[in-house]
């Protein structure tokens, strides 16, 4: 039933984005036997999505080639979902199950977008900012389509630039941060050498695109002509986004658009680290200078330790990879650079902190949990995430709280409760993997030892 491949490596890197690639490359260059695992079909994570084919940065090409040269084994299309026994991870692929036996683990599970609910946010063609970019990278034609990009964070600019390059008309970029915060951010960028170059480049790419600070989406409107058909049978196919009302410096403006790309910065993917017992501090995986977590032989690098973008992720990945193979002085040599990028990460956090007005965006009947269709009004009856989950089933759907968790954390200051396996939905037959220690044998009920 579960004759999955059993593979053992000295070091397993979980997550094939920049942090993971850098960690794996450095560890393998030092002579270790390293494998890197990612659920996507190609490496690159989100920011370097598309593997070597779409390596649109020299960093990406550089690191991809170092990874290959160093002889890292790449296991793509495998999603880690459970730790059935110490030293083993289970990963599911489309057609099978893998048992990954490790001595040392480097977790580079990245981040995901934070979504906040507002009326109409569940309409088709309302996607995340990174979400819409991912769709376009996956083949969605965007030429001549009108797109509003909204939310917060540097991702909005990167996405707007990318979409425009592919022919989209960016109607407006709506950033909820204030002008003064953005100005301070801009000034702070000057303290970061690489960033100035990046910013000038980005500024060039975004020339001519309207940008509004102090702005956020208020309502996403669906196509009116079909509202009457909403009671009928096949209306579902036509209920899509038609326009977005934005609050622009306090004034409402309605903009027609084909797509709304809306995301409120990033939240770390800490689920696997938590499952493995890593201590969490202020919502991030706690690591020491060598990127070691509170669990022996488990390291963590990149966004789960603090949202800091690709440069910090690369730095942390390198340090983790070197530390994992014992090259501590080489790792130490990188501490200075890392600190610089950590300063940038702190500025990021401060600049794009969510303003309290965003808590008023959802109305009573706005759905907060999309898996179970739980509206705000039902959640308000409860005083903790745990009670809300138990009584409304918010967070009990397949996303396992990844979408509604960060939203309720912001809306109600609820703390999410413990993580349980599987950290991603997995097939029942794969959950039934027997630990290697025990001898599987046919079991009569009521007669187990």
């Amino acid at each position: 039933m579960n004759n999955g491949a059993r593979q053992g490596f000295e070091i397993f890197v979980i997550g094939g984005g920049p942090a993971g690639i850098a960690a794996a490359a450095c560890a393998a260059e030092a002579g270790a036997q390293v494998a890197i695992v990612d659920e996507n079909l190609t490496l690159g994570g989100q920011i370097w999505r598309g593997g070597t084919a779409e390596a649109d940065s020299s960093d990406a090409s550089h690191w991809h080639s170092r990874l290959k040269t160093a002889g890292v084994v790449t296991l793509c299309g495998k999603r880690v979902f459970h730790q059935p026994e110490a030293g083993v991870l289970l990963a599911e692929s489309a057609d099978g199950l893998s048992h990954l036996r490790y001595r040392t683990l480097i977790l580079a599970t990245g981040a995901r977008e934070r979504f906040l609910p507002f009326p109409g946010w569940t309409l088709p063609n309302v996607a995340g900012a990174g979400g819409l970019q991912a769709l376009v990278k996956s083949g969605l034609p965007i030429q001549c389509k009108q797109v509003v990009v909204a939310g917060t964070g540097p991702l909005l600019l990167a996405v707007a630039s990318y979409l425009r390059k592919h022919g989209a008309e960016i109607v407006l970029i709506c950033e909820q941060a204030s002008w003064s915060k953005l100005a301070r951010f801009g000034i702070a960028l000057f303290g970061h050498a690489g960033k100035i170059g990046q910013s000038f480049q980005l500024a060039k790419e975004l020339k001519g695109i309207p940008f509004a600070a102090n702005s956020w989406p208020v309502i996403a409107h669906e196509a009116k002509a079909h509202e009457e058909k909403a009671q009928g049978n096949n209306a579902q196919g036509n209920r899509v986004l038609e326009a977005v009302t934005i609050s622009r410096a306090g004034k409402p403006t309605t903009l027609k658009c084909d797509y709304l790309a809306c995301g409120f910065h990033l939240v770390p993917n800490c689920e696997l680290p938590i499952l493995l017992g890593c201590r969490i501090l202020n919502g991030y995986v706690q690591v020491n200078d060598f990127q070691e977590t509170s669990v022996e032989k488990i390291f963590c690098a990149g966004e789960p330790t603090g949202i800091g973008g690709v440069d910090l992720a690369l730095m942390e990945g390198q340090i983790a990879g070197l530390a994992a193979v014992g090259r501590r002085s080489e790792a130490q040599a990188l501490f200075g650079k890392r600190e610089k990028f950590r300063r940038f990460a702190r500025i990021l956090e401060e600049t794009f902190r969510l303003r309290p007005e965003l808590r008023n965006l959802p109305s009573d009947d706005t759905l907060v949990c999309r898996c179970e269709d739980v509206p705000l009004s039902r959640l308000r009856e409860h005083s903790s995430w745990r009670a809300a989950k138990l009584h409304t089933r918010c967070g009990m759907g397949p996303c396992q709280g990844r979408i509604c968790g960060p939203a309720t954390e912001f809306l109600f200051q609820w703390n999410p409760d413990s993580i349980r396996p599987p950290v991603f939905p997995a097939r029942v037959e794969n959950l039934a993997a027997m630990p290697a220690q025990s001898q599987p044998r046919s079991v009569a009920p009521a007669e187990l030892e």
Binding site: T122, N125, A127, L135, S138, G139, L140, R370, C371, E372
Partner: protein, 81 residues
């Protein structure tokens, strides 16, 4: 290698660029990926396989995350319940 392939979305043929995902095909066909528990149409949100809004029935298999599934010629894709 063809530049375009044909898949069937809710019975109707849709031409998509080779390598496009099923989620993209459904978007191009203006068909929602799934219907929510209270009957709302839903499409891709996160684009990275964690929100589960893009679940569709692909070649008979329900709950397939379409944003991570490349299209294949003559694939049968339907809106998930």
């Amino acid at each position: 290698m063809p530049n375009e392939i044909i898949v069937r979305v809710n019975g109707a043929p849709v031409s998509v660029p080779a390598g496009a995902t099923v989620a993209v095909a459904m978007m191009m066909a203006s068909q929602p990926c799934r219907t929510s528990v209270t009957g709302e149409p839903r499409s891709t949100l996160c684009g990275m396989g964690i929100c589960f809004e893009c679940r569709a029935i692909v070649n008979g298999i329900p709950h397939s995350r379409s944003c991570q599934l490349p299209c294949e010629p003559e694939m049968d894709v339907r809106t998930d319940e």
